[in-house]
């Protein structure tokens, strides 16, 4: 059932495609760096989980999705929204808790949504999004709309009981859902080894007859190809697959993280040897698809976008006090 990656030929790509992945990943990184800065300046309060280091996962997955396919994830969600094409302004303004935020300040960093972009959140409760993801798949199947849902969750979340209830139902009913485990090796301060009897998470579906694949989550092309395979599998009516993305988060779990659970060396080494953006950058330069000047120009353009988002997020007014009572339930017409 579950299999490790076999060494295969290099994934195919072309100039435009690779540049677009580079751009997407860079946007995520710069956005997250800016969010980190705003947090440091006291403009963002509460929780704020950055995706830096994991950019290839969501970028590769998104590249394999078709229009209408859905995404749902946990609280480390800014990148997923950017990948879905949601406005960087609205995301940043939700982080700063302003009326221009995607949830008008109700949700904060962990809770944002867009039906238009098929992004189903943004969930603060670890693992809770996984059954929801399968439910999206159920509806796709029932409605016969041909769409597939992608449910993202972490290595830590993979130990929640409801994940296994979901695996069983998803396979029992062959739901068009793909389970994507973003294994960044830590759940807060707890490593996979300290929390998991089976640390090869792609095997977690074995007893449900769900095929699992382990993927180099730092390689955007490998991610894309694995996602394409799993999405096709689901769309063809063969049910769910599990993709274990081996990845790494460079920053702390949230913003206040003493980081005593891992060595600085480990972080530096991963950054210098496995960085997903550097890898694509080298590829672009090696193949002659871009030169330093092109990449500099791109970086500048992205910095502008992010700056604009940050400016917006600071200028946008505080939510109106009346917002406190909206959207609890549909108002009863009287």
């Amino acid at each position: 059932m579950a299999k490790k990656p076999s060494k295969k030929s290099e994934p195919k790509t072309d100039k435009d495609e690779l540049l677009s992945y580079y751009r997407e990943m860079l946007l995520i990184r710069r956005f997250e760096e800016k969010a980190g800065q705003l947090y440091g300046m006291g403009q963002i309060a509460g929780f704020c989980h950055l995706y830096i280091g994991q950019e290839a996962v969501v970028t590769g997955c998104r590249a394999a999705m078709k229009d209408g396919d859905q995404m749902i994830t946990g609280y480390r969600d800014h990148a997923h929204m950017l990948a879905c094409g949601m406005e960087s302004r609205g995301i940043m303004a939700e982080l700063t808790g302003r009326s221009g935020g995607l949830s008008r300040g109700k949700g904060g960093s962990m809770h944002m949504f867009s039906t238009e972009k098929h992004f189903y959140g943004g969930h603060g409760i670890v693992g809770a999004q996984v059954p929801l993801g399968a439910g999206l798949g159920f509806a796709n199947k029932y409605l016969g709309n041909g769409s597939v849902s992608l449910a993202f969750f972490g290595d830590g979340a993979s130990n929640q009981g409801q994940v296994y209830e979901t695996f069983n139902m998803a396979k029992l009913w062959d739901l068009p859902v793909v389970f994507i485990i973003e294994n960044n090796q830590y759940a807060m301060g707890t490593s996979v080894e300290r929390s998991s009897a089976e640390t090869e998470l792609y095997k977690r579906g074995s007893s449900f007859e769900i095929e699992g694949i382990q993927v180099d989550g730092m390689n955007v092309l490998e991610v894309r190809d694995a996602a394409a395979k799993a999405i096709k599998h689901a769309r063809d009516g063969k049910g769910p697959m599990i993709l274990e993305m081996k990845t790494y988060r460079y920053r702390g779990h949230s913003m206040s993280d003493p980081a005593k659970y891992r060595s600085r060396d480990e972080v530096t080494k991963t950054r210098s040897e496995r960085d997903p953006i550097d890898a694509v950058r080298h590829q672009l330069l090696d193949k002659g698809w871009a030169d330093e000047a092109d990449l500099k120009a791109l970086d500048k353009e992205i910095k502008e976008i992010v700056k604009d988002a940050a400016d917006f997020s600071l200028e946008s007014p505080e939510p109106d006090p009346s917002e406190l009572w909206t959207d609890v339930l549909l108002p009863v017409e009287g």
């Binding site: 509460g46 300040g105 809770h111 009981g161 759940a187 505080e318 406190l324 009572w325």
Partner: protein, 337 residues
């Protein structure tokens, strides 16, 4: 006496019990190696060993369920649920198993476990990191629910909870960990250092479950509060010059109804405070019991000041929090009645 903040007092209670009783075990998410997200268990693994203070996977249902089995088989587990907002997967185990074991087995089996969990807002945690779900638990027969408001009570109550032969839910108002918070988020944070309830005796002592604390004596109005709201009440009463009889419940179930009854019969006025949502909140239970016992002594309707009936918002946290202004209005209203 050693000065402690609430985190240190809670840690000290576990340390004291672990030192005295080899059957006391402490575990939860990030509790062992990392020492807990609020540092409540820092150092316990080094001191008492990996077999007595350890990490669990993110599996709240499993954590509590396993703790119940341990407790039924002779141990005294102290399980941490990292935030009360994560306790719902364990609700089934708490409601259907922990709280019912004694009754179902005619007293043959009990589940003497303690579940510690932080509650309340004040850190911009939004809907999933700020809730006060105490009423969901006080509604369960067979379970005790306590909530200290200061380091002294935290330590004594936690020791009493660990020694208790029934399951106890121990709620920790996270906004009070580092100091008494009187409801003004813009005022400089106060520390427990120098506060009389930050003086915490070394070693073993108990604060009995079921006994409220008279925070201050007064004759004008009875204020019933617990957790963070206790300190808001005190500050507001002081600012308004109202001589309030402030009762820090400390223990919601069992409830020290005698102290409450005596107080309301004396003052004839009662204001109830909690941070949790209003409808079916614990304040409703308090109001019912007060009117059942003190109806003829009452000179004004009982008022509740609570969180709104909405999820806990992120940005508008302080508009949700039943802060000094709302508390002040209620106190003035009952005084004028």
């Amino acid at each position: 006496m050693p000065e402690m903040n609430m985190i240190e007092a809670i840690r000290d209670a576990m340390d004291v019990k672990m030192s005295q009783d080899p059957d006391v075990l402490v575990f939860g998410e990030d509790v062992g190696y990392f020492g807990g997200v609020f540092r409540a268990t820092a150092g316990l693994q080094e001191k008492h060993g990996l077999h007595r203070c350890f990490d669990t996977p993110i599996s709240e249902g499993g954590i509590v369920g396993i703790a119940i089995g341990m407790a039924a088989n002779g141990l005294r587990p102290v399980a941490e649920i990292q935030f009360a907002d994560y306790i719902y997967p364990a609700y089934d185990q708490i409601a259907s198993e922990a709280a019912r074991l004694r009754y179902r087995s005619n007293g043959d089996f009990t589940a003497p476990l303690t579940i510690r969990t932080p509650v309340g807002g004040g850190i911009y945690g939004g809907t999933t990191h700020s809730q006060s779900p105490e009423a969901l638990f006080t509604h369960i027969a067979g379970l005790k629910t306590v909530i200290p408001s200061n380091p002294y009570d935290a330590k004594g109550l936690l020791i009493a909870a660990i020694e208790d032969n029934d399951p106890v839910l121990f709620l920790e108002p996270k906004r009070l960990y580092n100091g008494p918070f009187d409801g003004d988020p813009h005022a400089p944070a106060k520390a427990w250092r120098g506060h009389k309830l930050g003086d915490v005796p070394a070693g073993h002592y108990r604060v009995e479950i079921g006994e409220a604390r008279k925070l201050q004596k007064g004759v004008d109005v009875t204020v019933l509060a617990y957790g963070t709201m206790v300190w808001v009440a005190q500050k507001v009463a002081q600012d308004l010059g109202i001589d309030a009889d402030i009762i820090d419940l400390r223990s919601l179930l069992p409830l020290d109804i005698e102290m409450i009854e005596k107080s309301v019969n004396k003052t004839g006025r009662c204001v109830i405070l909690h941070e949790a949502t209003r409808t079916s909140g614990f304040g409703a239970e308090l109001a019912a019991q007060v009117q059942e016992r003190c109806f003829y002594a009452l000179e004004a309707p009982i008022l509740r000041v609570t969180g709104w009936d909405t999820p806990y918002p992120h940005a508008q946290e302080w508009a949700y929090f039943p802060g000094p202004k709302r508390v002040g209005n209620a106190l003035r209203t009952v005084m004028e009645a």
